[in-house]
């Protein structure tokens, strides 16, 4: 990775603690809460550090409630960090909120920023004025967005009448009216169909490649990540549990790939060392093998021993990998996994790299959050 240009987004030791009122169900508890509310501290973001380079799309992943949206709110200046620091293009968002606002575009996929009762195009015009976009540039931008997102077929309809996919595309356009160099996208493809998702992915890839737009992408759709991100950061309970390249993630210990083989003739019990035979059916068989193993080591003996007619090696199942990382974290909460290729960083104060497994585990301080 080129290190000559300074990163666009820098986050160091970022932390956010909320004070919330908690109450048990029922009338008595409701009344008690009215008289003497019980306050609790909720650590939404425990300690997160990362940086994003110009034109990079960083996948910011994690289960629900992991602290992803809170991080984004701190980067937009809406929330003041409890500790640590965040910089976007050299600005501290909460100190310079208005200036920061002009250089970022934000989508919270679950909530629209458009005005519900008005046509989508009216929302665009209000935003055009807010960001003081000159007429010529506005038209150029809208044309480009329309080309990718196909907005003009529905943008005169009130937002409340749009389908979820249409609304989401319009929301994405609304966040880009002012051509921001930085985009924070929190689940921009949630609930969309395959075609809609593909449109959005094409646009994001185009922006990052052609215009150098830097994108922090939060999603539960691993298809988005595979298509767009070279690098991912996974957080859980407000802490980074994995940071590294997508390739390294695929080769993480415990990840598996699938091999499907069609034989030229019927074969009895076609066993291969180091694989698990998942399925066998006359002339076909399916195997599972560790993703960090060289497929050659499996294919060579297979071809030598059996009459192979055709075979496919599937890419690793990312959903399984992510699940693995979450689970591992829960079993050993103080460990932070990371992998060592493609500019991956080992997270933690002391860390040892296990070169053979291309995975490493760091040891961090005591875990500060329960539940």
């Amino acid at each position: 990775m080129a290190e000559s240009t300074p990163p666009v987004i820098v986050v160091e030791g970022l932390r956010k603690v909320f004070r919330a009122t908690r109450r048990d169900p029922g009338f008595r508890a409701a009344f008690r809460s009215l008289v003497a509310p019980r306050r609790e501290q909720i650590v939404a973001v425990e300690d997160v550090s990362f940086s994003v380079q110009p034109g990079e799309i960083l996948g910011y992943l994690g289960p629900n409630g992991a602290g992803k949206s809170t991080t984004i709110k701190m980067l937009t200046g809406v929330l003041v960090p409890t500790a640590g620091r965040a910089h976007v293009l050299g600005l501290e968002p909460y100190r310079d909120r208005t200036r920061n606002a002009t250089q970022i575009g934000v989508v919270f996929g679950q909530r629209t920023q458009m005005w519900w009762d008005l046509p989508a195009v009216e929302s665009f015009l209000i935003l055009r004025h807010m960001y003081q976009v000159p007429d010529g540039i506005y038209r150029e931008t809208i044309d480009e967005l329309d080309e990718y997102l196909e907005l003009s077929s529905f943008w005169k309809a009130p937002v409340r009448q749009l389908s979820l996919g249409q609304r989401m595309r319009a929301d994405l356009a609304a966040a880009m009216i002012h051509r921001p160099p930085v985009l924070f996208l929190d689940e921009p493809t949630v609930g969309m169909d395959v075609v809609g998702k593909e449109r959005i992915r094409l646009l994001l890839a185009h922006l990052a490649r052609e215009r150098g737009t830097t994108i922090l992408l939060t999603t539960h759709d691993l298809g988005d990540v595979q298509r767009l991100c070279k690098r991912v950061l996974i957080i859980d309970h407000g802490r980074a549990i994995y940071e590294g390249g997508l390739q390294a993630l695929a080769e993480l210990e415990g990840a598996h790939r699938r091999l499907e083989v069609r034989f030229a003739e019927e074969v009895a019990a076609p066993v291969i060392e180091g694989t698990e035979l998942e399925q066998v059916n006359a002339v076909t068989a399916a195997y599972r093998f560790p993703a960090n193993r060289n497929p050659q080591e499996i294919l060579a003996p297979l071809a030598a021993r059996y009459p192979v007619a055709d075979l496919t090696v599937e890419s690793p199942d990312f959903e399984e990998i992510i699940r693995l990382i979450y689970e591992r974290k829960r079993e050993a909460p103080d460990a932070t996994s990371s992998a060592g290729t493609e500019g991956a960083e080992v997270k933690g104060e002391t860390a040892t790299a296990d070169a053979e497994a291309k995975a490493a585990r760091g040891v961090r301080g005591p875990r500060g959050r329960s539940g």
Partner: protein
């Protein structure tokens, strides 16, 4: 200075928000007109029945009472349908967008409010002309009184904007303000003399209310128009409105900072 100009340019299109939303809902617009017309009709019938021929109450005759009620209804009834409020956004979880645009949230609030104010002013003007033609509204005593009325309406709307903002800020702590809002609109209509002309109140209440910001939010312009506030007291009445406006804007600023801190520290 140039910063202020930019800020105003940024919020300029927000002024269209309230009128555009109101015009989107034809049924609501029609019901709104019906609401005002039926109120005025009701007051006309009521005051005609209450006043004996030639009788005055609190120095006001039946024509003045009817004009007062008609103008007060036109002035306040449109306030019942606010558009794009902070409280709605807090409940829906979209308040965050107000805080991440290059327009200060308070300026955004006033942009939306001024747009609504323009819409209500248009209704008041149309309703006033129709009322004049129908003989329900008496013509103003002089062009000067009409001018004072217009200035005073603007001031009353701005004062009302502050009251509305106070109510909206409550939502930053309680999330839901539907109940509070209903009570609040009623209290504001009653205390501002929009429901019952202020001269029907007991003497002590008349004095108290005359000096209160509630009267300044509705009753003052209408009282100027019908001549309940005599010509030589017009400047004083306008000055009192200005004083209340400045005081309420100052208070709103203080409360706003606390509410904003609640969002940016507590996450809304």
């Amino acid at each position: 200075m140039s910063q202020a100009v930019t800020a105003i340019a940024r919020v300029s299109r927000v002024l269209l928000l309230a009128p555009l939303v109101q015009l989107t809902y034809r049924a609501q617009a029609i019901i709104g007109v019906l609401d005002v017309v039926s109120r005025i009709f009701l007051f006309t019938v009521l005051w005609s029945a209450v006043y004996k021929p030639g009788q005055t109450s609190g120095g006001m005759d039946v024509q003045q009472a009817i004009t007062y009620s008609a103008l007060a209804s036109l002035l306040v009834s449109g306030r019942a349908w606010p558009v794009d409020t902070f409280s709605d956004r807090i409940r829906e979880g979209t308040i965050v967008y107000v805080f991440m645009r290059p327009v200060p949230p308070l300026l955004y609030f006033w942009g939306v409010h001024l747009g609504g104010m323009g819409y209500r002013a248009a209704l008041l003007a149309i309703g006033g002309v129709v009322g004049l033609a129908a003989g329900v509204v008496a013509p103003p005593a002089s062009p000067a009184v009409l001018a004072a009325f217009v200035v005073s309406v603007v001031m009353a709307e701005l004062i009302y904007g502050c009251f509305f903002l106070f109510l909206e800020l409550v939502a930053f702590w309680t999330t839901n303000i539907w109940g509070v809002r209903a009570l609040y609109f009623f209290a504001l209509q009653l205390l501002s003399g929009a429901l019952v002309p202020i001269w029907f109140f007991p003497d002590w209440a008349i004095t108290l209310l005359a000096w209160s910001p509630f009267a300044a939010a509705a009753s003052t312009p209408v009282s100027l128009y019908i001549g309940r506030i005599p010509a030589d007291s017009i400047v004083g009445a306008l000055a009192l409105q200005v004083a209340w406006l400045l005081a309420l804007i100052g208070l709103a600023g203080l409360l706003w900072r606390r509410a904003r801190d609640r969002v940016i520290v507590q996450g809304g």
